[in-house]
C-alpha cells in the first residue's frame, strides 16, 4: 500500500541519487585529471559543500593500498557520497589516485552481503547472524575437543584493522592456545620483515615519505610505483619537476608506466637482481666509495646458509645459521660479482651496473631505493632485501632525509595489523612466541596463564592451507581476504578447502571464490562502517571513526571475534561493550609497545590527527629511526645507533645469487610474472563493483612481448593458452598495452576471479620468510 508521503520520499530519494551521481561524476573527473596532471589540485571544491547536499566531511585513511593516503569522506543523508584528498595528511597532501576517489562507491555494490548464511544440505541459507555465530562457536569447540587445539585456525590480512588482528591473536594465541594465526600479508611482505629483522634486528622502515622531498636519485627495484603507489610516484615526479637535480632509475623485468616516466629504465632477467645488487657492492668497494667512517662504526659483516631450497614440499623446514665474517671475507665473496660476470647472468650491460653503482657511490647524491612485491615475492626475498640494505650501508646512505632504503607495502594495514600486532604464527604483539619474556608479557596483558601461549610456531600461510588440505586443520575462519584467488598453486588449496570434514567460515563484504567454499558466511562491516585503525608503510597509524552504518546485519570483524570469544567462555578477556571497544582495545594493545623504540600514540591523539608516526615519544613523532637527531631510542652517543641488533650495528650479509625455483626450459619456455593494475585493488572484489574502475579494466589479460606474439601468431585480443606443470588458463592477449614484458616473459594481472592465474603459479617460497614467489615460474604458450 502506498503511504501518503511516498511521492515526496521518492522525489527526495531521486534528488539524493542525482546528487550522488554528480559526486561520482566529479570524482571521476578528478581521478582522470590526477593521472594526466600529477599533482593537480582542486581546492575550490570544498566550496561545493554548500550547494551539493554534502553535509559533513570526516577523515579516514584510504581503504586500499599501503600508501595510506588521508581522505575526507563527504556524507549526505547517512551515505558516503564523495571523497577528496585530505590536505592535512602529510602522506598525500590532498591528492588521491583513482581508486581513492572512487573508494566510497565500493560500499554500495548491489550484491553486498548483508545477512549471514549457513550451508545446509549443500545449499547456503540465510540465518540470523546470532544463530550463525552460535554455529561457529559450537563447531570451533567441537573441532578443538575432537582433534586438538591446532586443528583450528584463523586467517586474516593486512586489510584487517589493528583491533581486528589484535582480538584474533588474543583469542587464538592467548585463549585457545594455538599459533594457527596467519594473514595474507605473509604473501606480500614477510620477506620485508625478515629482511629488516636480519639486517637491523627490528622491523619497519627507518625513513618516511618525506625522503621523497630530499632525495636526488630514486631507484625502483622491480617496483611499478606509477600504478601501485601512484600518489607517491606523483610526489617523486613533482619533485623532479621542481628541483633540477632529481632522476629516476627504473630497474625492472617489464616496461611499465613507471619505466615510461623514468629517466632511465634498466631491464634484468628474473631472479638476477641478487647478482646485480652484489655487483653494485663490488663496484662500490672496488672504486673506494665505501663510507669507511660509517662502516667501521656502525656495520658488521655476516653470512648464512646457502642452497637453501624452495619449500615446494609439505613440511619443508629451514633455519638459517648466522656466522660473523670480516670485511675482507666479504670483499672476497664479492669477487664473483664483477659487472662483466653479472652481465652474463642478468642481461644488464656492465656499463648500466656501473652507472647504478656510481649513483649510490657519489657522496654528493642522496639516494632512495623503493621496492615492494618485486623484491618480496621472491624465493630469495629475504636475501634481496638484505642486499639492497648492503648497498645503502656500504655508502652510509641511510636514516637521513633523502637517504633511504624503503620497502613499501601493498595493503592498507600490512604494517599496522600484521607486522605490529604480529598476526603471524611466530609473532606476538611484542616479540615472538619462542621468547619466554615476550610470552610472559602477552600472558600478563591478556590475562591468560603463561602456559596457554605455545612456544612453537605452527603453520605459515602456504603450510596452513597445505595442513587444511591434509586434514591437520579442520576448521578455518577467513576474514577480509580472498585466498581462493590469491593462493599460488590454487587448485590444490581449493580442493583441500572443499573436502568433506573441513569447516570454513568466511567473513566478507561481497561474494568471492572464497565465500564459494564457505560453510558459514558472515556479513562484515566494511572500512568506514566501523571504527578502526590502519598502519601504513611509513610507520603511520591512522584512525577512522564509524562514518556510516553497515548494511543489514553486517558486523565489524573485531566484534564478530569478540562474540565468538564470549560464547567460548572468555568474557574476562573480552569484557568490552560495543560503545567503546575500539578505544579500550587500542589502549590495551598500546601497552605491548611501551618504550622509546615503538611507543604508540594514545587513542585521543590518533582520533584528532590524520595519522601519527611511531615511535611517538613525549608528544613527538619519529621521522627517521636510528638517527639521534630524530629518534629518541638512540642512546649510544654516536651519529647513528642501530639498536635492533645485539651488537648495536646494522648487518651486511654475504648472500649469493641462486636461481629461481622453476626457470624456463625447452618444454615450458616462458617466465610467468603476475601482479596488479592501478584500477583494481587486490583481487578486485571491491573495485570491480565500482563502475568507473571496472569499465576501465573490465577483465584480465596476458601481456606478451610483440615479437613473441608475432612468433606465436597472436594479435591483440586473441586468446592464448598459458600452461604450467600445475594448470592452464586461456585468456586474451594484450600486446603493446600499458605494460610490455621483456621477450620470454608474460605478465598477468591477478585481480579477475574469472581468470584464476594462480592455478598456474607455483607455491615455492623464500625459506626464511615463507613468502611465495608470484613473479617467477615456467609456462608455455599456445594460441587458443
Amino acid at each position: 500500500m502506498m503511504k501518503k508521503n511516498d511521492k515526496g520520499d521518492k522525489q527526495t530519494m531521486k534528488l539524493n541519487r542525482r546528487q550522488f551521481i554528480k559526486q561520482v561524476a566529479i570524482t571521476s573527473a578528478f581521478a582522470t585529471a590526477g593521472s594526466i596532471f600529477p599533482g593537480v589540485s582542486f581546492a575550490d571544491w570544498s566550496k561545493l559543500t554548500n550547494n551539493s547536499g554534502v553535509i559533513s566531511w570526516q577523515k579516514s585513511p584510504c581503504r586500499f593500498c599501503g600508501t595510506g593516503c588521508g581522505l575526507l569522506i563527504g556524507v549526505s543523508d547517512g551515505k558516503a557520497v564523495a571523497v577528496k584528498g585530505d590536505p592535512n595528511c602529510s602522506v598525500n597532501k590532498g591528492l588521491c589516485c583513482m581508486k581513492g576517489y572512487h573508494s566510497v562507491q565500493a560500499l554500495y555494490g548491489e550484491d553486498r552481503i548483508t545477512k549471514a548464511k549457513v550451508r545446509r544440505d549443500g545449499v547456503m541459507v540465510e540465518v540470523p547472524i546470532q544463530e550463525a555465530l552460535d554455529i561457529i562457536a559450537q563447531k570451533l569447540q567441537e573441532t578443538r575437543d575432537k582433534h586438538g587445539k591446532d586443528s583450528v585456525a584463523i586467517y586474516g590480512s593486512g586489510q584487517w584493522t589493528i583491533p581486528d588482528g589484535y582480538v584474533a591473536s588474543k583469542l587464538f594465541k592467548g585463549c585457545l592456545g594455538t599459533n594457527n594465526v596467519e594473514a595474507n600479508a605473509r604473501l606480500c611482505m614477510s620477506s620485508a620483515v625478515t629482511g629488516f629483522m636480519t639486517s637491523f634486528g627490528i622491523d619497519e622502515p627507518m625513513g618516511c615519505y618525506e625522503d621523497i622531498d630530499h632525495a636526488n636519485v630514486f631507484i625502483t627495484w622491480g617496483n611499478n610505483m606509477a600504478e601501485m603507489h601512484p600518489v607517491l610516484y606523483s610526489r617523486i615526479l613533482a619533485n623532479r619537476k621542481r628541483r633540477s637535480n632529481v632522476q629516476i632509475i627504473d630497474f625492472a623485468t617489464r616496461h611499465t608506466r613507471t619505466s615510461q616516466a623514468a629517466d632511465k629504465s634498466i631491464m634484468f632477467k628474473p631472479q638476477s637482481d641478487l647478482a646485480v645488487a652484489n655487483a653494485i657492492c663490488y663496484e662500490i668497494v672496488k672504486n673506494g666509495w665505501v663510507n669507511s667512517n660509517f662502516v667501521n662504526k656502525h656495520v658488521s659483516f655476516h653470512k648464512g646458509k646457502t642452497n637453501i631450497g624452495y619449500g615446494t614440499e609439505d613440511h619443508f623446514a629451514f633455519t638459517d645459521q648466522e656466522e660473523g665474517i670480516s670485511f675482507e671475507d666479504y670483499k672476497a665473496f664479492l669477487e664473483d660479482y664483477t659487472p662483466e660476470k653479472v652481465e652474463k647472468i642478468s642481461g644488464v650491460p656492465a656499463t648500466d651496473i656501473k652507472y647504478m653503482a656510481a649513483l649510490y657511490g657519489d657522496p654528493s647524491l642522496k639516494v632512495t631505493s623503493f621496492w615492494c612485491m618485486g623484491m618480496n615475492q621472491h624465493t630469495r626475498g629475504t636475501w634481496i632485501n638484505n642486499l639492497v640494505y648492503n648497498i645503502h650501508l656500504l655508502v652510509g646512505k641511510i636514516s637521513t632525509p633523502g637517504n633511504s632504503p624503503f620497502s613499501l607495502t601493498g595493503q592498507p594495514s600490512a604494517c599496522g595489523t600484521v607486522r605490529e600486532v604480529g598476526t603471524l604464527t611466530h609473532a606476538l604483539p611484542h616479540g615472538v612466541v619462542m621468547n619466554e619474556h615476550d610470552r610472559q608479557m602477552a600472558a600478563e596483558i591478556w590475562d591468560v596463564p603463561l602456559s596457554n601461549i605455545d612456544p612453537k610456531p605452527t603453520y605459515h600461510t602456504v603450510e596452513m592451507f597445505r595442513a587444511l588440505d591434509r586434514g591437520d586443520i579442520k576448521f578455518i575462519w577467513i576474514q577480509v581476504t580472498n585466498p581462493m584467488v590469491t593462493m599460488p598453486n590454487l587448485k590444490r588449496y581449493r580442493e583441500g578447502a572443499l573436502k568433506e570434514d573441513r569447516f570454513v567460515v568466511v567473513s566478507d563484504v561481497y561474494p568471492t571464490p572464497t565465500t564459494d567454499v564457505a560453510d558459514v558466511i558472515l556479513p562484515a562491516a566494511m572500512w568506514i562502517e566501523q571504527e578502526g585503525m590502519y598502519g601504513n608503510s611509513e610507520r603511520r597509524t591512522q584512525h577512522f571513526s564509524q562514518i556510516v552504518d553497515p548494511p543489514g546485519e553486517a558486523m565489524s570483524d573485531t566484534w564478530q571475534i569478540i562474540e565468538i570469544a564470549k560464547r567460548l567462555g572468555f568474557e574476562k578477556q573480552f569484557p568490552w561493550s560495543e560503545k567503546d571497544y575500539i578505544e579500550k582495545i587500542w589502549e590495551e594493545y598500546r601497552r605491548f609497545h611501551a618504550g622509546p623504540k615503538h611507543e604508540m600514540a594514545p587513542y585521543k591523539v590518533l582520533n584528532e590527527r590524520s595519522g601519527v608516526q611511531w615511535p611517538f615519544v613525549n608528544g613527538k613523532e619519529t621521522r627517521w629511526r636510528f638517527n639521534p637527531q630524530h629518534d629518541p631510542a638512540c642512546t649510544n652517543g654516536k651519529d647513528f645507533h642501530f639498536y635492533g641488533q645485539k651488537d648495536d650495528r646494522a648487518w651486511i650479509w654475504a648472500r649469493p645469487y641462486e636461481p629461481a625455483a622453476e626457470s624456463p626450459d625447452n618444454e615450458y619456455n616462458f617466465w610467468l610474472n603476475t601482479g596488479r593494475v592501478i584500477e583494481h585493488w587486490h583481487t578486485g572484489s571491491m573495485t570491480r563493483r565500482v563502475p568507473v574502475l571496472h569499465n576501465a579494466v573490465p577483465s584480465s589479460y596476458v601481456e606478451i612481448h610483440p615479437e613473441d606474439a608475432a612468433e606465436l601468431g597472436v594479435v591483440n585480443g586473441e586468446k592464448v593458452k598459458i600452461i604450467s606443470r600445475r594448470g592452464e588458463i586461456t585468456m586474451p592477449a594484450q600486446i603493446n598495452g600499458r605494460g610490455v614484458p621483456v621477450r620470454g616473459m608474460v605478465f598477468v594481472p591477478f585481480f579477475d576471479e574469472s581468470y584464476l592465474i594462480n592455478e598456474v603459479t607455483l607455491d615455492a617460497f623464500c625459506p626464511i620468510s615463507k613468502q611465495p614467489d608470484y613473479k617467477k615460474c615456467a609456462v608455455r604458450l599456445e594460441k587458443a
Binding site: I26, A29, A33
Partner: protein, 77 residues
C-alpha cells in the same frame, strides 16, 4: 536526464575566458584546478533536447581547446 563530467582544456592563454564562458552556460558546473590550466566541467540536463542544445553551445565556445569525457550517465525516465 543525463549527467556528464569532462576535463576542459583552454586554448593557449584563454584559461580565464574559458572558465567565464563555461560558467555562463546553463546546466554547467565548473570546478577549476588551482595549479593547472584545466577545468572539471559537470553537466546535468533535464532531458535529451536540452542536452543536445548544450552540446552544440559547448562546441561553439571559442576559448575551448578540448573536452574529454570522464564520466557519463543517462537516466531514462
Amino acid at each position: 536526464m543525463p549527467i556528464f563530467s569532462y576535463l576542459a582544456l583552454p586554448k593557449e592563454g584563454a584559461g580565464e575566458t574559458m572558465r567565464t564562458e563555461l560558467s555562463a552556460l546553463d546546466y554547467c558546473q565548473v570546478i577549476p584546478a588551482d595549479n593547472q590550466d584545466v577545468v572539471v566541467l559537470v553537466t546535468d540536463t533535464p532531458d535529451a533536447t536540452t542536452e543536445e542544445r548544450l552540446q552544440k553551445n559547448l562546441r561553439r565556445l571559442p576559448s575551448l581547446q578540448s573536452l574529454s569525457l570522464t564520466f557519463g550517465y543517462d537516466e531514462k525516465e
